[in-house]
Symmetry: C2
Subunit: 157 residues, 2 copies
């Protein structure tokens, strides 16, 4: 497996398959082209035999000069449970550290137990929300009406 | 009318009304919370009597150090044709110039003739696409399948 920086041309390869990676859910709308044009230098692709098998789209916060944010991460269904997510996150962390930033944030849906467990294993702590769901602190309507979210924060060391 | 920087709390005010501003089209999905948390310092709100009547969400390109990008602009239906869009753009241009950047980019849909005319009036030029629709050069599938786009570029002087 090879990790490389995101290219603008990855958009045309990824977008037509991305909904399938999520079992038919409409995810492509969360990945407008702008991320592939303007945030490539903190975003990475995992490749095997020149086929994209995973990606991480993140950026440096423009408002919070000590922070970076992970917007979107995906791994091809045939390549899960192989630590590809973990490797992509580690690449992002390394890049963020090179910019002298120490905090990485991201969010997930409270129903996504796999994602919550993954982030906890990666050293993220859950920020205090305004309610508890299944023992997890959650922010109500964080990403719009009925879009509750779990808020993660990791301090890079 | 007052122009001020975007606040994170504007998210909760804007999102519930934004689809109405577009006559019921689902636009809220294009405005994830991340823009309200990490790109406030290049985004602006137009207010009258403490009511939000317009906004511009833009950012400085992280990859192209001479460029900035306008992601989303909206004006309340009751306040259109009052140059509020123009004033919001001018605020964005001024902020971008303060960062020593000279190029502003944005995109629009080929069916949005009002937007195309507005951008041309604001000094944007249309980048060469791969086909012509109604005399306008358009990039096929630019923002995903069947999402053709007109690409604008303005050099700040």
């Amino acid at each position: 497996m090879k990790i490389r920086s995101l290219l603008s041309s990855d958009y045309d390869t990824l977008i037509p398959q991305i909904n399938e990676w999520w079992g038919g859910r409409d995810m492509a709308g969360m990945l407008p082209k702008l991320f592939f044009n303007h945030f490539k230098n903190t975003s990475f692709i995992a490749e095997e035999d020149e086929k994209i098998i995973g990606f991480i789209i993140g950026f440096l916060s423009q408002d919070h000069l000590d922070e970076a944010y992970i917007h979107f991460v995906g791994v091809h269904p045939d390549y899960r449970k192989k630590d590809i997510g973990k490797i992509l996150y580690k690449n992002f962390f390394a890049k963020v550290k090179m910019t002298d930033r120490k905090i990485v944030r991201c969010i997930t849906s409270p129903v996504n137990k796999t994602s919550i467990a993954f982030h906890q294993k990666m050293g993220f702590v859950i920020e205090q929300g305004d309610k508890i769901i299944d023992g997890i602190s959650v922010r109500t309507n964080y990403d719009g009406l009925e879009n509750d979210r779990v808020l993660f924060r990791k301090e890079l060391t």
